[in-house]
């Protein structure tokens, strides 16, 4: 099969400009409604549960889940499906443990909740460190991935791709704040779900509308091994540790947690998780069909030749089944996917700087609306420029481990402190600070010393830490440190406030 991937075609350019134009119109509309800090960070808490569900799905379904998982299924078969389940199961846990208390207790960031009854400054600084590290590694992975993808799909040079993604995304966040970001994420979620649904329908139409026929074709071509678990879960401890990082990492992702402040109340927050889980679950259930379809119809050899790792399996399949026009559409959707995710990350990174550090630590909670908004926008520009710079600096580097790193830090630094602050009366300032720092340093350290970085990137002979996924240890350590230090440094005032705050945690009385 001849592919026009890598050269800009009329249809890919058309869809690309349509999407950018549509999102910029939305940004213009949103900019006129973004005049206060609450509008900038939280869209004035005016987003409905269904809208937030779509936006959460748009924030979460990255290019890695669309192109990466379909490619993994195409090349490695069933193992890609195991990976897909891990990306979903955090959502119910998010609902059961943090969604409603988070909405009731916080204002703009998860640090609001952790610092609620503790000493503001040390806790804010620690939480901002955990939050910024998470967002930064996630952003680097997204930016480097996006440069490579856009180069592959549109033929645009890597550096230009970084600058285009960075500038368009900055326009959304800078002018339209959370409202524009929300709508970009909604548009992207709708386009992505629509595109993948069409791909799935086209694949099934080739196999008599029966997945069983598709599986039959897969096993006829690649053997039954493609339909059953392979080497991905050879070590149960490793698999469980990865599962823990994926599941509880979601509960510590600042850009996801931030979305819960855009809805009016805890009830809407709860409903939005149900919508998001349904949409994301649907996506992960059908994406393996796209992967298997690419394996049979496009063939593993071509998928692997165009992009090692299989990232182009879905676009190649789109071209084969729907022609150049459909390839153009899918490429533009992949581009929109990157934009929406990076915009959400930038807003979260900027809020950690401006709301947690500037407003709460430097200004001690006293700054005018104008000053807050100005600092939020400056932080956005700084973060956006850093994202472009880091994206270019890491060109050609293997950064796939950075998504895992972001999840490990989120699960080990942000999540334990967030959960303990909600449910544990005796949680203290020192306990929070040390739990976050130990969680961040241990997960970062263990990954650097693991085979993923120590051997694959630094080219050392043997890894110092044997596991690829350290979350099972670093998360446990963060909880243990948080508990021990809190018990050693009791804080009577915080314990008294725990009782008072329950009214807000569970009834929403006094929530922002």
């Amino acid at each position: 099969m001849q592919s026009s991937l890598g050269s800009p075609t009329a249809s890919s350019i058309l869809f690309f400009f349509l999407i950018v134009a549509l999102t910029l119109v939305v940004t213009y509309w949103a900019a006129r409604r973004t005049k206060t800090s609450s509008e900038f960070y939280a869209a004035g808490r005016s987003v409905s549960a269904a809208q937030n569900g779509l936006a959460l799905a748009g924030d979460y379904m990255s290019a890695a889940s669309f192109l990466g998982i379909s490619g993994m299924v195409a090349l490695q078969g069933y193992d890609g499906m195991i990976y897909a389940t891990g990306w979903l199961v955090g959502w119910p846990a998010l609902m059961f443990l943090v969604a409603e208390p988070l909405r009731n207790l916080g204002k703009f960031t998860f640090a609001d909740v952790v610092a609620f009854r503790l000493q503001q400054r040390p806790v804010r600084i620690a939480a901002a460190v955990g939050g910024i590290l998470t967002v930064l590694f996630y952003t680097i992975a997204q930016m480097v991935g996006s440069g490579q993808l856009i180069k592959l799909m549109f033929g645009i040079p890597y550096e230009w791709a970084e600058i285009i993604v960075g500038s368009v995304m900055l326009a959304y966040v800078l002018f339209g704040g959370m409202l524009a970001t929300t709508w970009v994420q909604i548009i992207k979620a709708v386009l992505l779900l629509f595109g993948v649904t069409i791909l799935t329908v086209l694949v099934l139409s080739k196999f008599g509308w029966s997945p069983a026929n598709l599986y039959g074709a897969v096993s006829a071509k690649y053997g039954k091994a493609a339909l059953v678990p392979g080497g991905f879960v050879s070590s149960p401890l490793e698999a469980v540790s990865l599962g823990l990082a994926l599941m509880f990492g979601l509960l510590g992702l600042p850009h996801i947690l931030m979305r819960f402040y855009t809805v009016p109340d805890a009830k809407a927050a709860r409903k939005s998780v149900l919508y998001a889980t349904g949409l994301i679950g649907y996506f992960y259930v059908i994406i393996p069909i796209v992967g298997f379809g690419a394996a049979v119809l496009v063939g593993r050899d071509l998928v692997n030749k165009i992009a090692p790792g299989g990232n182009m399996a879905a676009p190649l399949l789109a071209e084969l089944l729907g022609g150049q026009a459909f390839l153009g559409f899918i490429s533009a959707v992949a581009f929109a996917t990157i934009l929406a995710v990076v915009a959400g990350l930038t807003l979260a990174g900027a809020s950690a700087f401006s709301h947690d550090i500037y407003m709460s630590v430097i200004k001690r909670g006293k700054a005018s609306e104008e000053a807050q908004l100005k600092v939020a926008r400056i932080a956005t520009i700084v973060f956006g420029v850093c994202a472009i710079g880091l994206g270019i600096a890491f060109k050609g580097q293997n950064v796939a481990f950075m998504v895992g790193l972001a999840f490990a830090i989120a699960a080990s630094a942000n999540f334990p402190a967030l959960l303990m602050s909600i449910v544990w009366k005796k949680f203290s300032t020192q306990g929070a600070v040390w739990s976050i720092l130990v969680g961040a340093v241990s997960s970062l350290g263990m990954i650097v010393l693991s085979p993923t970085v120590w051997v694959s990137i630094f080219k050392f002979e043997k890894a110092i830490f044997p596991m690829k996924n350290p979350a099972i240890w670093s998360m446990t350590l963060a909880f243990a440190v948080g508990i021990v230090v809190s018990l050693l440094t009791p804080e009577p005032r915080a314990q008294e406030m725990f009782e008072e705050e329950k009214l807000r945690t569970y009834l929403g009385v006094g929530a922002e």
């Binding site: 891990g86 119910p92 609902m95 997945p211 096993s219 059953v228 698999a239 009782e499 009834l507 009385v509």
Partner: protein
């Protein structure tokens, strides 16, 4: 728990079903210390932890099963379909059902109680 101002909760008249009339007003501390509020919080976490346990059993059970017993998950359950595929899809569907269960419980049982307790708050 002993830090709350009000020593004991005065017996509270129940609000008649659907009525607004005979509402007893209480302070924030009284509501937090009331047995109804404590029961509500306890029930919320019991439900959450029960559903979380089911999620853990299904997901980590799935991971350990595909890691541990490849022969078992490789057996064919339908034409060309090894068991591994339906259970993978099943984990995702089950996870969504758990969230739906939580929302159904919260809408039917948690929210009305929250509204009732909020109504009792002295303003």
């Amino acid at each position: 728990m002993e830090k709350v101002a009000a020593p004991a909760t005065p017996s509270v008249k129940q609000v008649p079903a659907g009525g607004h009339s005979a509402r007893t007003h209480r302070s924030a501390a009284e509501v937090v210390a009331s047995p109804e509020f404590k029961a509500l919080v306890k029930r919320r976490w019991s439900i959450s932890l029960l559903l979380l346990t089911l999620l853990f059993v299904s997901y980590y059970g799935f991971i350990l099963l595909v890691a541990g017993d490849k022969a078992f998950v490789s057996q064919m359950v339908a034409e060309n379909t090894p068991l591994a595929i339906p259970i993978g899809v099943g984990v995702i569907v089950f996870a969504w059902l758990l969230t739906a269960l939580y929302v159904a419980w919260a809408n039917r049982s948690y929210d009305p109680e929250v509204e009732r307790l909020k109504g009792e708050l002295r303003r």
